[in-house]
C-alpha cells in the first residue's frame, strides 16, 4: 500500500518510553535552530542565550527552581487525573483561585497576623483551587457535561475575577489606584530556602507533591483503581470500582495542588496579589504532565525543562531582542514532537512494500 508502514509491536516498548521524550527535545532544538535561522538570528547564539546562558549563574538556577515549582504542583495533580481519563485543563483557573483565596487571607489579616497565618494561607489556597475544580467534577457527574470544556471556561472566569478583585476590593489603599494589592507582610510570605535566590518554601511543597503523587499511584489501592479506569474503563466497571469517587478525588486533588501553586506565587516570588500572577503555568503544566510520562519523577524533570523555556524566553528577549512569544512556540512544538514520536512505543516503522503473509 505504502512504503512507510506502522507495524504494531507485540507489546509496548519499554525503551521507547524513555527514548521518545529525549527524541522530542532533540527535534525541538533542531526546529528551533531552523526557526532562528529563518528569522535572521545566529541560531547557535540564539539557542545558547535561550537554553544555556540563563542557568550559568546561581541566581539563574534559582529562577529555574522558582518557575518549576508551580509547574510541578499543577502537573502532578493533572497527571493523576489524566491517568484516569479525567481531563482537567483548568489548572490555570484553579491556580488563580488559590492565589485569590490564599492571598485574600494575607490581606484580610494584614497587620494582625502571626505564625498561624502562612499555614492558613496554604490551606486556604488548596481549598480555593479544590472548590474551583469541584465545579467541573460536579457538572460531569451530575449533568454529564464535559470537564474539558467546563474546566477551561472557568479559567477565563477565574482570571476575570482576579482582575476585578485587584481593581476593587483587593487594591492597595495607599497604592495610587494601581491594580495590585498591598505587599504582604513577613508573616504572610513564604521563607526563602536558598540565600541569594528567590527559591521559597513552595519548592518543598512541590517535592512533597512528587513523593505523594508517586506513593498514591504506585503504592495504594486508589492508585491501582485510577490506572485500571484509565486503561480499561469496562474492566473497572466489572471490578466494581467507584468511578464517580475517582473523578471527585482526582479533580479535587489536582485543584488543591494547583491552588497551593497559586498561593505560593503570591506569597513567594510576587509578594502581593496582581492581575498577572501566572505566565500560563496551568497550561504549560499539561505539557509537563505528558512530557513527564504522567509519572511524578518524570514530571519533576519535565518541569525543570519547561521552566527553562520560560526564563530562556525572558533572557533571549533581553539579550538578543527575540520575541517572548517564542516560548509558547517551543512549548507547543515539544508537545507535538512528543506525541508524534510516541507512536514508536506501540508501533515499529517499516519501510518497503507490504510484507507477504508470514
Amino acid at each position: 500500500m505504502s512504503f512507510i508502514r506502522l507495524e504494531p509491536r507485540g507489546q509496548a516498548s519499554k525503551t521507547m518510553v524513555y527514548v521518545t521524550p529525549l527524541l522530542a527535545v532533540a527535534l525541538t532544538l533542531l526546529s528551533g535552530f531552523i526557526l532562528f535561522l529563518a528569522m535572521g538570528f545566529d541560531p547557535l547564539k540564539a539557542l545558547y542565550s535561550f537554553f544555556v546562558a540563563p542557568v550559568t549563574s546561581v541566581r539563574g538556577v534559582g529562577e529555574l527552581v522558582v518557575k518549576a515549582t508551580p509547574l510541578v504542583l499543577c502537573a502532578v495533580g493533572l497527571a493523576i487525573g489524566f491517568r484516569a481519563n479525567v481531563w482537567n485543563i483548568g489548572a490555570e483557573g484553579q491556580l488563580t483561585l488559590g492565589a485569590i483565596t490564599g492571598g485574600g487571607l494575607a490581606l484580610a489579616f494584614y497587620g494582625e497576623g502571626g505564625w498561624w497565618l502562612l499555614p492558613m494561607m496554604v490551606v486556604g489556597g488548596a481549598v480555593g483551587g479544590a472548590v474551583w475544580a469541584a465545579v467541573p467534577a460536579f457538572l460531569r457527574l451530575r449533568f454529564n457535561a464535559s470537564e474539558i470544556l467546563t474546566s477551561l471556561m472557568l479559567n477565563y472566569v477565574a482570571l476575570l475575577l482576579l482582575n476585578y478583585l485587584v481593581h476593587g476590593p483587593f487594591r492597595d489603599p495607599d497604592g495610587f489606584a494601581f491594580p495590585e494589592s498591598r505587599l504582604f507582610e513577613a508573616d504572610a510570605t513564604l521563607p526563602v530556602l536558598w540565600a541569594g535566590t528567590r527559591v521559597h518554601l513552595g519548592a518543598l511543597f512541590a517535592l512533597l507533591a512528587v513523593a505523594g503523587g508517586w506513593l498514591l499511584i504506585a503504592r495504594t489501592f486508589i492508585g491501582f483503581q485510577i490506572k485500571v479506569i484509565g486503561l480499561t474503563p469496562a474492566a473497572a466497571g466489572y471490578a466494581g470500582f467507584d468511578q464517580k469517587r475517582i473523578v471527585w478525588l482526582t479533580l479535587l486533588l489536582s485543584g488543591a495542588l494547583a491552588g497551593i501553586a497559586g498561593m505560593g506565587e503570591v506569597a513567594g516570588p510576587i509578594g502581593q496579589v496582581t492581575a498577572g500572577i501566572s505566565p500560563g503555568y496551568g497550561y504549560t503544566a499539561i505539557i509537563v504532565a505528558f512530557l513527564g510520562r504522567l509519572h511524578p519523577v518524570g514530571i519533576l524533570l519535565a518541569a525543570l525543562l519547561m521552566a527553562l523555556s520560560f526564563i530562556g524566553g525572558e533572557a533571549a528577549q533581553i539579550a538578543m531582542g527575540l520575541p517572548k512569544a517564542i516560548t509558547g512556540v517551543f512549548q507547543g512544538m515539544l508537545l507535538f514532537f512528543l506525541l508524534a514520536s510516541d507512536v514508536l512505543i506501540r508501533y515499529r516503522v517499516r519501510f518497503g512494500a507490504r510484507r507477504a503473509a508470514a
Binding site: I287, G328, G332
Partner: protein
C-alpha cells in the same frame, strides 16, 4: 422610545458577534461528524486571524486575506491530522497541543502587526430595506462574511445529509471499521474533514481580526474557539442548531457591552464572565439529557483508527 432605537444596532451587532463562532462551529461540526475531536479550534482561529490580518495589511486585499486565513487554518489543522490519523496520537492531547502551539505561533507572527489599524469590510446598503426600523440594519446592513457564514449553514447541511460524500463521511464517523471494510478510505476522509475544519476556524479568526475588531492583538479570540466546541455539543451536531447557538452567544456578548450603557452598575470584569458562564450553563442543560447526546454524537468520536490493526 430611546430603548427601542437601541434594538436595531444591538440586533445587528449580535449577528456580527455570532459570525466567528458560526464559522468555527460549522467546521468543527463536520470534523466531529467524521469521528475526530479536534480541540485545537482556538489555536487554528488565532493562526487564521494573524495570517489573514498580516496579508490584508500588506496586500490591501481583504479577499486575499481571508483566503490566506483559510489556508493557514487548514495548514495548522494538517499538523493535527498527521499526528492523530497517521501517527495515532491521542486526539485530546494533540488538540490541546495545537491550541498551545497556535497561541505561541500567532503571537510570534503578529508581533510586528500590533497596533496597526485596518479598515473593516464594507457593509451592504440597500436603499429602503437597510433603512427599515429595528431589523433593517441587522438583516440588510451586514458585510459579506456575515452572509457567507449564514449561507454555509444550509450548505453544510445539504452536504452532510443530501450528498453521497456526506453520507460516507457520516458513516466513517459512526463506524470506521465497517466503513473501512466497505472500502472507504477512512483516513483520507477524516484528513479532508480536519482540513475543512481548520479552514473554517481560520475564516472565523480572520473575521475577528480583519472585520469585527479590525486589528491584531495576542490571544484576541479569548476563548471563542472553545465556545465553538461547546456549541457543537449544544447543537447536538446539527448545523441549523449551531447557528441558533451562535446567535445566542452573539447576543450574550453584545448584552454584556450594553448593560453598562443602560445604566446598570456592574463591574465590567463580572460582565465579561457572561459568555463563559453561559457556555457552561448551556453545556449543562444539553448534556444532562444523556440519551439525546448518545443518540446524536458520532459513535466513533475521538476513537483512533489504524487500518492494519
Amino acid at each position: 422610545m430611546n430603548d427601542l432605537a437601541l434594538i436595531g444596532p444591538i440586533l445587528a451587532a449580535m449577528f456580527a458577534a455570532a459570525t466567528p463562532l458560526l464559522f468555527a462551529a460549522l467546521g468543527e461540526l463536520v470534523v466531529e461528524k467524521s469521528g475526530v475531536l479536534n480541540l485545537g479550534v482556538e489555536g487554528m482561529m488565532l493562526v487564521g486571524a494573524v495570517c489573514g490580518f498580516a496579508v490584508a495589511v500588506q496586500t490591501g486585499s481583504a479577499t486575499t486575506g481571508f483566503l490566506v486565513a483559510a489556508l493557514a487554518g487548514a495548514a495548522t489543522a494538517s499538523l493535527f491530522a498527521v499526528l492523530t490519523l497517521f501517527l495515532l496520537a491521542n486526539q485530546v492531547a494533540t488538540g490541546l497541543a495545537l491550541t498551545l502551539f497556535g497561541v505561541g505561533l500567532s503571537a510570534l507572527i503578529g508581533q510586528g502587526f500590533v497596533g496597526i489599524p485596518l479598515e473593516g469590510l464594507p457593509k451592504l446598503y440597500i436603499p429602503g430595506l437597510t433603512d427599515l426600523p429595528v431589523v433593517g440594519q441587522a438583516l440588510f446592513g451586514q458585510d459579506v462574511m456575515v452572509y457567507l457564514s449564514v449561507a454555509a449553514v444550509p450548505l453544510v447541511h445539504l452536504f452532510l445529509y443530501r450528498t453521497r460524500a456526506g453520507l460516507v463521511l457520516r458513516a466513517v464517523g459512526e463506524n470506521h471499521t465497517a466503513a473501512h471494510a466497505l472500502g472507504y478510505k477512512v483516513l483520507r476522509i477524516r484528513f479532508l474533514a480536519v482540513l475543512f475544519g481548520g479552514a473554517m476556524a481560520g475564516l472565523g479568526g480572520a473575521f475577528l481580526s480583519m472585520d469585527y475588531t479590525p486589528m491584531w492583538a495576542e490571544n484576541m479570540t479569548s476563548g471563542r474557539g472553545w465556545i465553538a466546541l461547546a456549541l457543537v455539543v449544544f447543537a447536538t451536531w446539527k448545523p441549523a442548531r449551531a447557528m441558533l447557538g451562535a446567535w445566542l452567544f452573539g447576543g450574550v456578548t453584545i448584552l454584556q457591552l450594553h448593560v453598562q450603557g443602560l445604566g446598570i452598575d456592574v463591574p465590567s470584569q463580572l460582565l465579561s464572565m457572561l459568555p463563559y458562564l453561559a457556555t457552561v450553563l448551556v453545556l449543562v442543560l444539553i448534556s444532562r439529557d444523556v440519551a439525546r447526546i448518545r443518540l446524536n454524537a458520532p459513535a466513533c468520536l475521538g476513537k483512533l483508527f489504524h487500518p492494519d490493526a
